[in-house]
Amino acid sequence: MIARRDLPVRLIARTDLSPTCFRLELAAEETISAAPGQFGMLSCGSGYDPLLRRAFSLSGIRPHGAGCRIEMMIKEVGKGTSALRRLPEDTELRLLAPLGNTFTLAAEGDRRLALVAGGIGLPPVLFAAEELAARGVPFDLYIGAAGAGELLEVGRCRAAVDVVDGEFVLATDDGSRGEAGFVTAALARRIAAGRRYCRALGCGPTPMLAALAEVAKGAGFEAELSLEEPMACGVGVCLGCVVKVADGHYAPTCKEGPVFPASALAEDWWK
Protein backbone atom coordinates (compact mmCIF):
# COMPACT_ATOMS: atom_id res chain seq x y z
CA MET A 1 0.00 0.00 0.00
CA ILE A 2 1.27 3.46 -0.89
CA ALA A 3 2.07 5.37 2.30
CA ARG A 4 -0.73 7.60 3.56
CA ARG A 5 0.24 11.14 4.43
CA ASP A 6 -1.50 14.11 6.01
CA LEU A 7 -0.30 16.80 3.64
CA PRO A 8 -0.43 20.56 4.14
CA VAL A 9 -1.71 21.74 0.74
CA ARG A 10 -2.32 25.13 -0.80
CA LEU A 11 -5.24 25.89 -3.05
CA ILE A 12 -3.57 27.10 -6.22
CA ALA A 13 -6.34 26.96 -8.80
CA ARG A 14 -10.07 26.47 -9.11
CA THR A 15 -11.81 26.14 -12.48
CA ASP A 16 -15.51 25.77 -13.15
CA LEU A 17 -16.31 22.67 -15.18
CA SER A 18 -20.10 23.01 -15.18
CA PRO A 19 -22.76 25.01 -13.37
CA THR A 20 -22.29 22.77 -10.31
CA CYS A 21 -18.81 21.26 -10.68
CA PHE A 22 -15.33 22.69 -10.45
CA ARG A 23 -11.74 21.51 -10.60
CA LEU A 24 -9.49 22.09 -7.61
CA GLU A 25 -5.71 22.08 -7.84
CA LEU A 26 -3.75 21.69 -4.64
CA ALA A 27 -0.01 22.18 -4.28
CA ALA A 28 1.92 20.03 -1.82
CA GLU A 29 5.53 20.51 -0.75
CA GLU A 30 6.26 16.80 -0.91
CA THR A 31 5.52 14.35 -3.68
CA ILE A 32 3.01 11.57 -3.31
CA SER A 33 2.21 8.88 -5.81
CA ALA A 34 -1.32 7.60 -6.18
CA ALA A 35 -3.23 5.35 -8.55
CA PRO A 36 -6.69 5.73 -10.12
CA GLY A 37 -9.45 4.91 -7.63
CA GLN A 38 -7.64 6.32 -4.65
CA PHE A 39 -8.99 9.34 -2.84
CA GLY A 40 -8.09 11.93 -0.24
CA MET A 41 -9.80 13.44 2.80
CA LEU A 42 -9.73 17.22 2.43
CA SER A 43 -10.37 19.75 5.18
CA CYS A 44 -12.95 22.38 4.22
CA GLY A 45 -11.65 25.28 6.29
CA SER A 46 -11.05 26.08 9.94
CA GLY A 47 -13.71 26.02 12.63
CA TYR A 48 -15.83 23.08 13.71
CA ASP A 49 -18.63 23.49 11.20
CA PRO A 50 -18.28 21.60 8.94
CA LEU A 51 -16.50 19.31 11.37
CA LEU A 52 -15.26 16.45 9.23
CA ARG A 53 -13.01 16.33 6.20
CA ARG A 54 -14.59 15.48 2.87
CA ALA A 55 -13.64 12.58 0.62
CA PHE A 56 -12.71 13.30 -2.98
CA SER A 57 -11.23 11.03 -5.60
CA LEU A 58 -7.88 12.03 -6.99
CA SER A 59 -8.21 12.78 -10.70
CA GLY A 60 -4.54 13.33 -11.34
CA ILE A 61 -1.16 14.16 -9.83
CA ARG A 62 1.61 16.09 -11.58
CA PRO A 63 5.06 17.25 -10.48
CA HIS A 64 5.01 20.82 -9.17
CA GLY A 65 8.24 22.43 -8.08
CA ALA A 66 9.84 20.19 -5.50
CA GLY A 67 6.45 18.71 -4.66
CA CYS A 68 3.33 17.88 -6.60
CA ARG A 69 0.05 19.30 -7.85
CA ILE A 70 -2.96 17.25 -6.88
CA GLU A 71 -6.13 17.58 -8.93
CA MET A 72 -9.70 16.92 -7.85
CA MET A 73 -13.08 17.53 -9.41
CA ILE A 74 -15.84 18.54 -7.05
CA LYS A 75 -19.56 18.98 -7.25
CA GLU A 76 -21.14 21.55 -4.95
CA VAL A 77 -23.80 19.68 -3.00
CA GLY A 78 -23.65 21.06 0.54
CA LYS A 79 -21.75 22.80 3.31
CA GLY A 80 -18.25 21.51 2.72
CA THR A 81 -18.24 21.62 -1.06
CA SER A 82 -19.72 25.09 -1.12
CA ALA A 83 -17.08 26.24 1.35
CA LEU A 84 -14.42 24.77 -0.95
CA ARG A 85 -15.96 26.66 -3.85
CA ARG A 86 -15.62 29.93 -1.96
CA LEU A 87 -12.22 29.64 -0.26
CA PRO A 88 -9.75 32.24 -1.52
CA GLU A 89 -6.75 31.04 -3.52
CA ASP A 90 -3.66 30.24 -1.45
CA THR A 91 -5.82 28.99 1.40
CA GLU A 92 -3.93 26.35 3.36
CA LEU A 93 -5.80 23.05 3.73
CA ARG A 94 -4.95 19.53 4.86
CA LEU A 95 -5.23 16.53 2.59
CA LEU A 96 -5.02 13.00 3.91
CA ALA A 97 -3.91 10.96 0.90
CA PRO A 98 -3.56 8.70 -0.92
CA LEU A 99 -6.28 6.55 0.65
CA GLY A 100 -7.96 3.32 -0.35
CA ASN A 101 -7.35 0.82 -3.10
CA THR A 102 -7.27 1.20 -6.86
CA PHE A 103 -8.88 0.05 -10.09
CA THR A 104 -7.27 -2.88 -11.88
CA LEU A 105 -5.76 -1.23 -14.95
CA ALA A 106 -4.63 -4.28 -16.91
CA ALA A 107 -6.65 -5.62 -19.85
CA GLU A 108 -6.85 -9.34 -20.62
CA GLY A 109 -6.09 -10.83 -24.02
CA ASP A 110 -7.80 -8.96 -26.83
CA ARG A 111 -10.66 -7.76 -24.64
CA ARG A 112 -10.83 -4.08 -23.86
CA LEU A 113 -11.73 -2.39 -20.59
CA ALA A 114 -15.03 -0.54 -20.31
CA LEU A 115 -14.66 2.67 -18.31
CA VAL A 116 -18.00 3.99 -17.15
CA ALA A 117 -18.64 7.25 -15.32
CA GLY A 118 -21.85 8.94 -14.25
CA GLY A 119 -21.88 12.62 -13.39
CA ILE A 120 -19.31 13.53 -10.75
CA GLY A 121 -18.18 9.91 -10.80
CA LEU A 122 -15.79 10.99 -13.57
CA PRO A 123 -12.64 11.91 -11.59
CA PRO A 124 -11.31 8.42 -10.81
CA VAL A 125 -12.43 7.16 -14.21
CA LEU A 126 -10.68 9.99 -16.05
CA PHE A 127 -7.58 9.36 -13.96
CA ALA A 128 -7.78 5.70 -15.02
CA ALA A 129 -8.37 6.64 -18.67
CA GLU A 130 -5.34 8.90 -18.82
CA GLU A 131 -3.24 6.28 -17.05
CA LEU A 132 -4.39 3.53 -19.45
CA ALA A 133 -3.75 5.78 -22.41
CA ALA A 134 -0.23 6.40 -21.16
CA ARG A 135 0.32 2.64 -20.83
CA GLY A 136 -1.36 1.92 -24.13
CA VAL A 137 -3.96 -0.36 -22.61
CA PRO A 138 -7.11 -0.39 -24.80
CA PHE A 139 -10.46 0.78 -23.40
CA ASP A 140 -13.76 2.36 -24.33
CA LEU A 141 -15.01 5.27 -22.27
CA TYR A 142 -18.65 5.82 -21.43
CA ILE A 143 -19.62 8.99 -19.64
CA GLY A 144 -23.12 10.02 -18.70
CA ALA A 145 -24.80 12.96 -17.07
CA ALA A 146 -28.25 14.41 -16.46
CA GLY A 147 -27.80 16.88 -19.31
CA ALA A 148 -25.21 18.24 -21.73
CA GLY A 149 -24.30 21.00 -19.30
CA GLU A 150 -23.19 18.49 -16.69
CA LEU A 151 -20.84 16.49 -18.92
CA LEU A 152 -17.35 17.17 -17.58
CA GLU A 153 -13.93 17.37 -19.26
CA VAL A 154 -15.22 16.00 -22.56
CA GLY A 155 -12.08 17.14 -24.36
CA ARG A 156 -9.69 15.38 -22.00
CA CYS A 157 -11.83 12.27 -22.13
CA ARG A 158 -11.80 12.12 -25.93
CA ALA A 159 -8.07 12.79 -26.06
CA ALA A 160 -7.41 9.87 -23.73
CA VAL A 161 -9.64 7.45 -25.62
CA ASP A 162 -8.17 8.44 -28.97
CA VAL A 163 -4.70 7.40 -27.84
CA VAL A 164 -5.85 3.78 -27.71
CA ASP A 165 -8.40 4.04 -30.55
CA GLY A 166 -11.18 3.28 -28.10
CA GLU A 167 -14.77 4.39 -28.46
CA PHE A 168 -15.94 7.45 -26.57
CA VAL A 169 -19.62 7.25 -25.73
CA LEU A 170 -21.58 10.17 -24.32
CA ALA A 171 -25.02 9.74 -22.82
CA THR A 172 -27.42 12.18 -21.19
CA ASP A 173 -30.64 11.40 -19.36
CA ASP A 174 -32.43 14.16 -21.24
CA GLY A 175 -30.80 13.37 -24.57
CA SER A 176 -29.44 16.90 -24.83
CA ARG A 177 -26.12 15.46 -25.99
CA GLY A 178 -24.87 12.03 -27.04
CA GLU A 179 -27.16 9.04 -26.65
CA ALA A 180 -30.40 9.55 -24.73
CA GLY A 181 -30.83 7.63 -21.49
CA PHE A 182 -28.52 6.07 -18.93
CA VAL A 183 -24.90 5.49 -19.76
CA THR A 184 -25.24 1.87 -18.65
CA ALA A 185 -27.91 1.37 -21.30
CA ALA A 186 -25.48 2.65 -23.91
CA LEU A 187 -23.00 0.06 -22.66
CA ALA A 188 -25.64 -2.68 -22.74
CA ARG A 189 -26.52 -1.84 -26.34
CA ARG A 190 -22.90 -2.29 -27.45
CA ILE A 191 -22.60 -5.54 -25.59
CA ALA A 192 -25.85 -6.76 -27.16
CA ALA A 193 -24.30 -5.82 -30.50
CA GLY A 194 -21.47 -8.21 -29.73
CA ARG A 195 -18.79 -6.11 -28.11
CA ARG A 196 -16.71 -7.95 -25.52
CA TYR A 197 -14.95 -6.49 -22.48
CA CYS A 198 -12.57 -8.03 -19.95
CA ARG A 199 -13.68 -5.76 -17.14
CA ALA A 200 -15.63 -2.62 -16.37
CA LEU A 201 -14.34 0.17 -14.13
CA GLY A 202 -17.13 2.37 -12.91
CA CYS A 203 -17.88 5.30 -10.67
CA GLY A 204 -21.10 7.24 -10.27
CA PRO A 205 -24.40 7.31 -8.42
CA THR A 206 -25.27 4.09 -6.62
CA PRO A 207 -28.18 3.20 -8.95
CA MET A 208 -25.83 3.53 -11.92
CA LEU A 209 -23.26 1.27 -10.25
CA ALA A 210 -25.95 -1.29 -9.48
CA ALA A 211 -27.06 -1.20 -13.11
CA LEU A 212 -23.45 -1.50 -14.29
CA ALA A 213 -22.99 -4.56 -12.08
CA GLU A 214 -26.10 -6.12 -13.67
CA VAL A 215 -24.95 -5.45 -17.21
CA ALA A 216 -21.45 -6.79 -16.54
CA LYS A 217 -22.77 -9.87 -14.79
CA GLY A 218 -25.09 -10.58 -17.70
CA ALA A 219 -22.20 -10.27 -20.12
CA GLY A 220 -19.95 -12.41 -17.98
CA PHE A 221 -17.27 -9.93 -17.00
CA GLU A 222 -16.33 -8.30 -13.71
CA ALA A 223 -17.31 -4.76 -12.81
CA GLU A 224 -15.08 -2.85 -10.42
CA LEU A 225 -17.20 -0.27 -8.66
CA SER A 226 -15.88 2.78 -6.84
CA LEU A 227 -18.33 3.31 -3.97
CA GLU A 228 -19.27 6.44 -2.07
CA GLU A 229 -20.25 5.92 1.54
CA PRO A 230 -20.36 8.69 4.13
CA MET A 231 -16.96 8.83 5.79
CA ALA A 232 -15.70 10.30 9.02
CA CYS A 233 -12.06 9.26 9.21
CA GLY A 234 -11.11 7.86 5.81
CA VAL A 235 -8.48 5.68 7.43
CA GLY A 236 -10.36 2.67 8.70
CA VAL A 237 -10.92 3.48 12.34
CA CYS A 238 -14.49 4.78 12.64
CA LEU A 239 -16.24 1.98 10.74
CA GLY A 240 -18.81 4.47 9.51
CA CYS A 241 -18.23 3.94 5.79
CA VAL A 242 -18.90 0.24 5.58
CA VAL A 243 -20.59 -1.70 2.81
CA LYS A 244 -22.07 -5.17 3.13
CA VAL A 245 -19.87 -7.70 1.37
CA ALA A 246 -20.66 -11.17 0.02
CA ASP A 247 -20.03 -13.02 3.29
CA GLY A 248 -22.45 -10.72 5.13
CA HIS A 249 -19.79 -8.73 6.92
CA TYR A 250 -19.43 -4.97 6.71
CA ALA A 251 -16.18 -3.80 5.14
CA PRO A 252 -14.82 -0.26 5.56
CA THR A 253 -14.92 1.21 2.05
CA CYS A 254 -12.20 3.72 2.87
CA LYS A 255 -9.71 0.93 3.47
CA GLU A 256 -10.84 -2.22 1.68
CA GLY A 257 -12.34 0.01 -1.00
CA PRO A 258 -13.44 2.38 -2.36
CA VAL A 259 -13.15 -0.01 -5.33
CA PHE A 260 -14.92 -3.36 -5.02
CA PRO A 261 -15.49 -6.05 -7.63
CA ALA A 262 -19.28 -6.30 -7.86
CA SER A 263 -18.94 -10.02 -7.18
CA ALA A 264 -17.39 -9.32 -3.78
CA LEU A 265 -20.40 -7.31 -2.59
CA ALA A 266 -23.56 -8.60 -0.95
CA GLU A 267 -26.59 -8.94 -3.22
CA ASP A 268 -28.30 -6.04 -1.45
CA TRP A 269 -25.20 -3.87 -0.97
CA TRP A 270 -26.81 -0.87 -2.66
CA LYS A 271 -30.08 -0.99 -0.71
Binding site: A3, R4, D6, S43, Y48, D49, P50, L51, L52, R53, R94, L96, E229, P230, M231, A232, C233, G234, V235, G236, V237, C238, L239, G240, C241, V242, V243, K244, G248, H249, Y250
Partner: protein
Protein backbone atom coordinates in the same frame (compact mmCIF):
# COMPACT_ATOMS: atom_id res chain seq x y z
CA UNK B 1 10.91 25.80 30.75
CA UNK B 2 10.63 22.02 30.81
CA UNK B 3 7.24 20.61 31.72
CA UNK B 4 6.58 17.29 33.41
CA UNK B 5 3.77 15.55 31.55
CA UNK B 6 3.73 12.53 33.86
CA UNK B 7 0.20 11.68 34.97
CA UNK B 8 -1.55 9.20 37.18
CA UNK B 9 -4.96 7.59 36.93
CA UNK B 10 -5.24 6.06 40.38
CA UNK B 11 -2.13 3.92 40.68
CA UNK B 12 -1.59 3.74 36.93
CA UNK B 13 1.37 5.92 36.00
CA UNK B 14 1.23 7.42 32.53
CA UNK B 15 3.93 9.15 30.49
CA UNK B 16 1.40 11.86 29.69
CA UNK B 17 -2.32 12.61 30.19
CA UNK B 18 -3.43 12.01 26.60
CA UNK B 19 -5.14 8.80 25.50
CA UNK B 20 -6.82 7.75 22.27
CA UNK B 21 -10.50 6.99 22.87
CA UNK B 22 -12.28 3.75 22.25
CA UNK B 23 -13.75 3.34 18.79
CA UNK B 24 -11.76 6.13 17.24
CA UNK B 25 -8.25 4.65 17.12
CA UNK B 26 -8.88 1.08 16.02
CA UNK B 27 -6.96 -1.43 18.10
CA UNK B 28 -3.89 0.72 18.60
CA UNK B 29 -1.78 0.33 15.45
CA UNK B 30 -4.22 1.40 12.75
CA UNK B 31 -2.87 4.95 12.65
CA UNK B 32 0.71 4.07 13.51
CA UNK B 33 2.26 6.34 10.88
CA UNK B 34 0.34 9.36 12.22
CA UNK B 35 0.30 8.59 15.90
CA UNK B 36 2.60 5.88 17.31
CA UNK B 37 0.63 4.44 20.24
CA UNK B 38 3.62 4.25 22.58
CA UNK B 39 3.87 8.04 22.49
CA UNK B 40 0.47 8.38 24.15
CA UNK B 41 -0.33 8.06 27.84
CA UNK B 42 -2.47 5.10 26.84
CA UNK B 43 -4.66 3.81 24.04
CA UNK B 44 -8.13 2.42 24.54
CA UNK B 45 -9.13 -0.32 22.13
CA UNK B 46 -12.33 -0.44 20.12
CA UNK B 47 -14.95 -2.15 22.30
CA UNK B 48 -14.36 -5.88 22.38
CA UNK B 49 -16.98 -8.61 22.69
CA UNK B 50 -16.53 -12.36 23.20
CA UNK B 51 -17.14 -13.06 19.51
CA UNK B 52 -16.60 -10.82 16.47
CA UNK B 53 -19.55 -8.55 15.78
CA UNK B 54 -20.78 -7.35 12.40
CA UNK B 55 -22.35 -4.18 13.74
CA UNK B 56 -25.29 -2.15 12.49
CA UNK B 57 -26.68 -1.73 8.98
CA UNK B 58 -25.88 1.52 7.14
CA UNK B 59 -25.98 4.52 7.20
CA UNK B 60 -24.07 4.49 10.46
CA UNK B 61 -22.82 8.05 10.72
CA UNK B 62 -24.04 11.54 10.05
CA UNK B 63 -22.42 14.89 10.61
CA UNK B 64 -24.19 17.53 12.71
CA UNK B 65 -23.27 21.08 13.75
CA UNK B 66 -19.79 20.77 15.32
CA UNK B 67 -20.46 17.11 15.93
CA UNK B 68 -21.42 13.75 14.51
CA UNK B 69 -23.82 10.97 15.39
CA UNK B 70 -22.67 7.38 15.12
CA UNK B 71 -24.41 4.05 15.36
CA UNK B 72 -21.63 1.65 14.50
CA UNK B 73 -23.17 -1.08 16.59
CA UNK B 74 -19.91 -2.04 18.22
CA UNK B 75 -18.54 -3.87 15.19
CA UNK B 76 -15.30 -5.47 16.35
CA UNK B 77 -12.92 -8.34 15.68
CA UNK B 78 -13.66 -10.07 18.96
CA UNK B 79 -11.43 -10.55 21.98
CA UNK B 80 -9.76 -13.68 20.60
CA UNK B 81 -8.46 -11.98 17.46
CA UNK B 82 -7.32 -9.02 19.53
CA UNK B 83 -5.39 -11.20 21.95
CA UNK B 84 -3.96 -13.44 19.24
CA UNK B 85 -3.15 -10.92 16.52
CA UNK B 86 -3.01 -7.38 17.87
CA UNK B 87 -1.76 -7.56 21.44
CA UNK B 88 1.43 -9.40 20.49
CA UNK B 89 2.31 -6.45 18.25
CA UNK B 90 1.46 -3.84 20.86
CA UNK B 91 3.38 -5.49 23.71
CA UNK B 92 6.91 -5.15 22.33
CA UNK B 93 6.19 -1.50 21.52
CA UNK B 94 5.59 -0.81 25.20
CA UNK B 95 2.15 0.61 24.62
CA UNK B 96 -0.05 1.22 27.66
CA UNK B 97 -3.21 -0.60 26.64
CA UNK B 98 -6.68 -0.22 28.09
CA UNK B 99 -9.14 -2.77 26.74
CA UNK B 100 -12.64 -1.44 26.22
CA UNK B 101 -15.10 -4.19 27.14
CA UNK B 102 -18.82 -4.56 26.48
CA UNK B 103 -21.43 -7.24 26.37
CA UNK B 104 -25.13 -7.84 26.22
CA UNK B 105 -24.96 -9.95 29.35
CA UNK B 106 -22.78 -9.81 32.44
CA UNK B 107 -21.23 -13.09 31.41
CA UNK B 108 -20.16 -11.56 28.13
CA UNK B 109 -18.18 -8.90 30.01
CA UNK B 110 -16.63 -11.58 32.17
CA UNK B 111 -15.81 -13.68 29.13
CA UNK B 112 -13.89 -10.83 27.49
CA UNK B 113 -12.00 -10.06 30.68
CA UNK B 114 -11.39 -13.76 31.29
CA UNK B 115 -9.77 -14.16 27.88
CA UNK B 116 -7.64 -11.03 28.39
CA UNK B 117 -6.49 -12.26 31.80
CA UNK B 118 -4.47 -14.93 29.99
CA UNK B 119 -2.42 -12.18 28.31
CA UNK B 120 0.37 -9.90 29.40
CA UNK B 121 0.46 -6.24 28.51
CA UNK B 122 -2.95 -4.96 29.45
CA UNK B 123 -2.94 -2.05 31.90
CA UNK B 124 -6.66 -1.62 32.48
CA UNK B 125 -10.15 -2.64 31.47
CA UNK B 126 -12.60 0.09 30.54
CA UNK B 127 -16.20 -1.09 30.80
CA UNK B 128 -18.50 0.40 28.21
CA UNK B 129 -21.79 0.21 30.07
CA UNK B 130 -23.79 2.08 27.43
CA UNK B 131 -24.99 -1.24 26.16
CA UNK B 132 -28.45 -2.76 26.52
CA UNK B 133 -28.61 -5.73 28.85
CA UNK B 134 -30.62 -8.27 26.83
CA UNK B 135 -31.24 -10.44 29.89
CA UNK B 136 -32.67 -7.43 31.76
CA UNK B 137 -35.13 -6.27 29.14
CA UNK B 138 -32.63 -4.14 27.28
CA UNK B 139 -32.11 -1.62 30.08
CA UNK B 140 -28.60 -0.27 29.67
CA UNK B 141 -26.17 -1.45 32.35
CA UNK B 142 -25.11 2.13 32.93
CA UNK B 143 -28.65 3.37 33.52
CA UNK B 144 -29.48 1.26 36.56
CA UNK B 145 -27.19 1.82 39.56
CA UNK B 146 -28.03 -1.63 40.99
CA UNK B 147 -27.16 -3.35 37.75
CA UNK B 148 -24.03 -1.23 37.35
CA UNK B 149 -22.75 -1.95 40.85
CA UNK B 150 -23.38 -5.62 40.24
CA UNK B 151 -21.63 -5.67 36.88
CA UNK B 152 -18.67 -3.75 38.23
CA UNK B 153 -18.40 -5.98 41.29
CA UNK B 154 -18.42 -9.14 39.20
CA UNK B 155 -15.79 -7.77 36.85
CA UNK B 156 -13.81 -6.58 39.86
CA UNK B 157 -13.83 -10.10 41.28
CA UNK B 158 -12.55 -11.50 38.01
CA UNK B 159 -9.39 -9.44 37.70
CA UNK B 160 -6.71 -7.72 39.74
CA UNK B 161 -6.09 -5.28 36.90
CA UNK B 162 -7.35 -1.74 36.99
CA UNK B 163 -11.02 -1.43 36.27
CA UNK B 164 -12.44 1.74 34.72
CA UNK B 165 -16.13 2.28 34.18
CA UNK B 166 -17.14 4.52 31.32
CA UNK B 167 -20.22 6.50 32.29
CA UNK B 168 -23.09 7.29 29.97
CA UNK B 169 -24.34 10.89 29.84
CA UNK B 170 -27.79 9.44 29.18
CA UNK B 171 -28.01 7.78 32.59
CA UNK B 172 -30.94 9.11 34.66
CA UNK B 173 -28.65 9.75 37.60
CA UNK B 174 -25.03 10.50 36.74
CA UNK B 175 -23.77 10.78 40.31
CA UNK B 176 -25.72 7.70 41.32
CA UNK B 177 -24.11 5.75 38.49
CA UNK B 178 -20.68 7.07 39.45
CA UNK B 179 -21.21 6.00 43.06
CA UNK B 180 -22.49 2.59 42.01
CA UNK B 181 -19.44 1.98 39.86
CA UNK B 182 -17.11 3.01 42.67
CA UNK B 183 -19.02 0.91 45.21
CA UNK B 184 -18.70 -1.98 42.78
CA UNK B 185 -14.95 -1.58 42.84
CA UNK B 186 -14.06 0.68 39.92
CA UNK B 187 -10.57 2.21 40.15
CA UNK B 188 -11.48 5.10 37.92
CA UNK B 189 -14.34 6.52 35.86
CA UNK B 190 -14.22 7.56 32.22
CA UNK B 191 -16.72 10.15 31.11
CA UNK B 192 -18.51 10.87 28.90
CA UNK B 193 -19.71 8.41 26.29
CA UNK B 194 -21.84 9.75 23.44
CA UNK B 195 -25.14 11.55 23.99
CA UNK B 196 -28.19 9.84 22.49
CA UNK B 197 -29.26 11.85 19.47
CA UNK B 198 -31.09 11.75 16.16
CA UNK B 199 -30.79 13.20 12.68
CA UNK B 200 -33.68 13.37 10.23
CA UNK B 201 -33.60 13.52 6.45
CA UNK B 202 -36.38 15.92 5.48
CA UNK B 203 -36.24 14.72 1.86
CA UNK B 204 -36.88 11.10 2.71
CA UNK B 205 -38.98 11.94 5.76
CA UNK B 206 -36.93 9.34 7.58
CA UNK B 207 -34.18 9.14 10.17
CA UNK B 208 -30.74 9.42 8.57
CA UNK B 209 -29.29 6.49 10.47
CA UNK B 210 -30.45 2.92 9.89
CA UNK B 211 -30.87 2.54 13.65
CA UNK B 212 -32.73 5.89 13.83
CA UNK B 213 -30.86 7.10 16.92
CA UNK B 214 -27.15 7.10 17.66
CA UNK B 215 -24.54 8.79 19.82
CA UNK B 216 -23.51 12.44 19.49
CA UNK B 217 -19.81 13.26 19.81
CA UNK B 218 -17.40 16.05 18.96
CA UNK B 219 -16.97 19.71 19.99
CA UNK B 220 -20.74 20.15 20.27
CA UNK B 221 -20.81 18.04 23.44
CA UNK B 222 -17.72 19.46 25.15
CA UNK B 223 -19.67 21.87 27.40
CA UNK B 224 -21.87 19.00 28.61
CA UNK B 225 -18.90 16.68 29.15
CA UNK B 226 -17.00 19.34 31.10
CA UNK B 227 -20.01 19.93 33.32
CA UNK B 228 -20.37 16.21 34.02
CA UNK B 229 -16.69 15.73 34.82
CA UNK B 230 -16.86 18.69 37.18
CA UNK B 231 -20.04 17.41 38.87
CA UNK B 232 -18.65 13.92 39.40
CA UNK B 233 -15.35 15.33 40.66
CA UNK B 234 -17.21 17.49 43.17
CA UNK B 235 -19.33 14.59 44.35
CA UNK B 236 -16.46 12.08 44.47
CA UNK B 237 -13.28 14.17 44.80
CA UNK B 238 -11.02 11.20 45.50
CA UNK B 239 -12.09 9.13 42.51
CA UNK B 240 -9.73 9.34 39.51
CA UNK B 241 -11.50 10.53 36.38
CA UNK B 242 -10.65 10.29 32.70
CA UNK B 243 -12.29 13.12 30.82
CA UNK B 244 -13.61 12.83 27.30
CA UNK B 245 -15.96 14.65 24.99
CA UNK B 246 -15.06 17.04 22.20
CA UNK B 247 -11.40 17.48 23.05
CA UNK B 248 -9.79 18.97 19.93
CA UNK B 249 -7.01 21.13 21.35
CA UNK B 250 -4.53 21.27 24.22
CA UNK B 251 -6.64 24.01 25.75
CA UNK B 252 -9.71 21.75 25.69
CA UNK B 253 -7.66 19.06 27.43
CA UNK B 254 -6.51 21.50 30.10
CA UNK B 255 -10.12 22.51 30.74
CA UNK B 256 -10.92 18.86 31.50
CA UNK B 257 -7.92 18.56 33.80
CA UNK B 258 -8.99 21.69 35.68
CA UNK B 259 -12.50 20.27 36.02
CA UNK B 260 -11.05 17.25 37.78
CA UNK B 261 -9.91 14.75 35.16
CA UNK B 262 -6.54 13.06 35.70
CA UNK B 263 -6.22 12.41 31.97
CA UNK B 264 -8.18 12.96 28.77
CA UNK B 265 -9.18 10.85 25.82
CA UNK B 266 -9.31 12.06 22.23
CA UNK B 267 -12.08 10.61 20.09
CA UNK B 268 -13.80 12.33 17.18
CA UNK B 269 -10.88 14.76 16.84
CA UNK B 270 -8.86 11.86 15.44
CA UNK B 271 -11.22 11.73 12.45
CA UNK B 272 -10.37 15.32 11.61
CA UNK B 273 -6.70 14.86 12.29
CA UNK B 274 -5.18 11.38 12.65
CA UNK B 275 -2.35 12.79 14.75
CA UNK B 276 -4.69 14.81 16.97
CA UNK B 277 -3.60 13.07 20.19
CA UNK B 278 0.05 14.07 19.59
CA UNK B 279 -0.95 17.59 18.59
CA UNK B 280 -3.05 17.95 21.74
CA UNK B 281 -0.12 16.68 23.79
CA UNK B 282 2.23 19.22 22.21
CA UNK B 283 -0.29 21.99 22.80
CA UNK B 284 -0.63 21.00 26.46
CA UNK B 285 3.12 21.21 26.85
CA UNK B 286 3.24 24.62 25.16
CA UNK B 287 0.42 25.93 27.32
CA UNK B 288 2.10 24.75 30.51
CA UNK B 289 5.47 26.19 29.48
CA UNK B 290 3.79 29.48 28.64
CA UNK B 291 1.87 29.61 31.91
CA UNK B 292 4.57 28.56 34.32
CA UNK B 293 3.07 25.17 34.99
CA UNK B 294 5.94 22.83 35.88
CA UNK B 295 3.83 19.67 35.92
CA UNK B 296 0.47 18.98 34.25
CA UNK B 297 -0.54 17.12 37.39
CA UNK B 298 -0.77 20.51 39.12
CA UNK B 299 -3.74 21.29 36.93
CA UNK B 300 -5.89 18.32 37.93
CA UNK B 301 -8.94 19.64 39.76
CA UNK B 302 -7.31 23.07 40.09
CA UNK B 303 -10.47 24.89 39.03
CA UNK B 304 -11.13 27.91 41.19
Amino acid sequence: MSVSLASRVGDLHLANPVMAASGTFGYGLDLDEFCPPERLGAIVTKGLSPKPRVGNPTPRIVETAAGMINAIGLQNIGVEAFCAEVLPRLRPRGVTVAVNVFGETMDAYLEVIGRCEREEGIAAYELNVSCPNVTAGGMEFGHDPELLRDLTARCRASTSRRLWVKLSPNAPDLIGAARAAVDGGADALTLINTIRAMAIDAERRAPVLATRCGGLSGPAIKPVALRMVWEVHRALPTVPLVGIGGVETGRDAIEFLLAGASAVQIGTAIFRDPSAPLRVLAEIETFCAGHGVAAVSELVGALR
